[in-house]
Amino acid sequence: MTIQIQQKPIGSVLFQYDLYPEKIESYGKVKKIYTSTGQYALKETLMTEEDGDWFIHVMKRLERINFNYVIPVIPTKYGDFLLRYGDKVFYLMPWYEDHKEFRYPVEPEEVMAEEIAKLHSLTERTQDYSESVLEDSHEALRKRWGLRRIEMERYIDQIEMNEYYSPFELTLLTHFQRTLFMANEAEQHLKAWFEGAKEKESFRSVLCHGKPSRKHACFDKYGTAYLFNFEKAVLDTPSRDLALMFRHFFQSRPWDEHEGRHWLQLYEKQFSLSEEEKHLFISYLAFPESIYQTVDTYMKKDGKMTEFQAVTQLERKILTMNRIHRFMNSIFPKNQNNG
């Protein structure tokens, strides 16, 4: 009975692609559809109408500019790219098998850095300079970071009054000054970006993937990556997408500053960042938001994490923060920090 109910919307969705499934497997929000004509990936997601229109625009633009490192969205037999059922949205792609081992010695991070750089390069646009837009953007981020700092400082004041510290609290107290130092560094780099852009009177935008990560790329056996899930794609500074990708790399595997520089060099071979964009990139990475998020989760005490898990996660993020510090210093040696 349950199976029947689950299959009904899928059936009428697939009907619009003239696909008659022989077998369906679920992988989170994606269903792998086996048919006599091949295998397909049906993604179920939530999108407003406006987001849906933008997503279609992005996919069509990628096709127009011949960006080949993308898994295409297949239209229905009526020409629709998205199917809406209430608040749910479906779209279909060919199924790409994701390889973990390749015929050539390539690292997924290297390939992704190059391909994201190609995407940025193909979609680069110099924006009309507006000092007020720049100022607003700088101010908004500075304020947000300021508020986050205050929130964390309050929490530290609160736990300092405890007679005994929990292991998590103790770990946080030990490293809190370090997080404040990194927040300051982030602000300095943000200021350097702002001053640099003001001086140049220009800034540029690119099409940012929005969620660049290993799980949003399928690798073929030769090590070529095909990106998907452009649902959060935006027009923004390349520094943003790059920082998101690096953050993901930092979380997914051990790394050091040499490797970080290597990834950045690979990216810059395809798409060179300006000095102020590098400052912005480093400021995004340096701000210890990731640590603050772990603190938020711990503060909620909603039982999602045990004390041990919370401490482990915090320690891992502190380790990453220290690595980011070394990475930052390798790009901007101390005497150059202020641009």
């Binding site: 299959q7 009904k8 919307p9 059936g11 009428s12 009907f15 619009q16 003239d18 239209p75 037999k77 009526y78 020409g79 809406r84 059922y85 209430g86």
Partner: protein, 310 residues
């Protein structure tokens, strides 16, 4: 007639054969039906209507399948050709007033750009001119009194309909009158994977409530008054019948279009048996109209407008 190879090439089928020559194709993607259109504006309006309807309601309809080049219609020697799925299983409406009411409500409130040309089936002036004098065209003695009696009653219905129209007359009310793809039967509802699939025809867009009248009348005959009220309640959530459309809907239901149709038909026949069949059909339709007006009036809880019994 369009060749099989043109269709195969245009739509990218691997295999295709005629199931019904010139009408239905059997392909590896299922059965596909061909529609021919003489008027380009009409097909463009239908493409837009069906796309918007599917988008708004989330239900399936016989939308135009696109060619490999992304075109929704092909120009042929016989006019424009469009291709559709051929779905034959009827939708089971029983106990599904909520689902169907929502669909019909959204159908009639779908407001797309008004077509350049549309059919206005309930033209009161035309009907009035047709009925105001005794009709004597050499009918037999058996049929003449029947026609004359119904003519008088039809005029009475028409005058009530006109009064209702006048009461609701105004720019706002006129602007609200729906323009839809015409409906001729509940059997246009098919089923695909437990979901409603609505099959449109190729007729001109239609202004007014004739299609809604047909839906409601057939529903009343099939599922009874209680079910009709549930359906009306659901329709009203999406298409404000009570607030904006009641008088115009009732006026269209009162208009004796079945009688004028009967008059048109009997002029073309001589056979007394056929005449009897048409008489019986008219009596049946007249009674259906009466029952619908009564049921609607009760539901609306307003002044009853009664159709005299034949």
């Amino acid at each position: 007639m369009i060749s099989l190879s043109t269709l195969v090439q245009s739509y990218g089928f691997k295999h295709a054969d005629w199931e019904v020559e010139g009408e239905v194709l059997k392909t590896e993607k299922g059965l596909k039906r061909i529609s021919y259109w003489a008027d380009q504006d009409q097909v463009l309006w239908h493409i837009k209507w069906r796309d918007h309807l599917a988008d708004k309601t989330g239900y399936l309809t016989n939308r135009m399948i696109q060619t490999l080049n992304g075109e929704r219609m092909i120009l042929t020697d016989e006019g424009w050709l469009t291709l559709h799925d051929n779905v034959t299983s009827l939708f089971p409406y029983k106990d599904r007033e909520g689902e169907f009411g929502k669909f019909i409500g959204q159908y009639f409130s779908l407001n797309i750009e008004e077509p350049g040309d549309y059919h206005d089936p309930v033209n009161m002036d035309r009907i009035n001119n047709h009925l105001k004098y005794p009709i004597n065209q050499g009918f037999s003695e058996e049929i003449q009194p029947f026609i004359e009696r119904l003519r008088k009653e039809a005029l009475l219905r028409l005058s009530k309909a006109k009064r209702l129209r006048e009461e609701s007359f105004g720019e706002e009310a006129t602007a609200l009158i729906p323009v839809v793809s015409p409906i001729f039967s509940l059997d246009q509802g098919k089923i695909v994977f437990e979901k409603l699939y609505w099959q449109h025809g190729t007729e001109r867009p239609e202004k007014g409530y004739r299609s809604l009248q047909i839906i409601l009348s057939q529903w009343l005959q099939r599922y009874g008054k209680k079910s009709l009220y549930t359906l009306l309640y659901e329709i009203d959530k999406h298409f404000p019948l009570k607030k904006n459309h009641f008088k115009n809907l009732l006026a269209d239901c009162l208009t004796p279009w079945e009688f004028t149709l009967f008059l048109e038909q009997i002029q073309k026949i001589d056979d007394p048996n056929q005449m009897e069949v048409l008489k019986e059909k008219l009596t049946f339709q007249w009674e259906e109209s009466r029952q619908l007006v009564k049921a609607l009036s009760e539901w609306f809880d307003l002044t009853r407008e009664k159709v005299p019994t034949v």
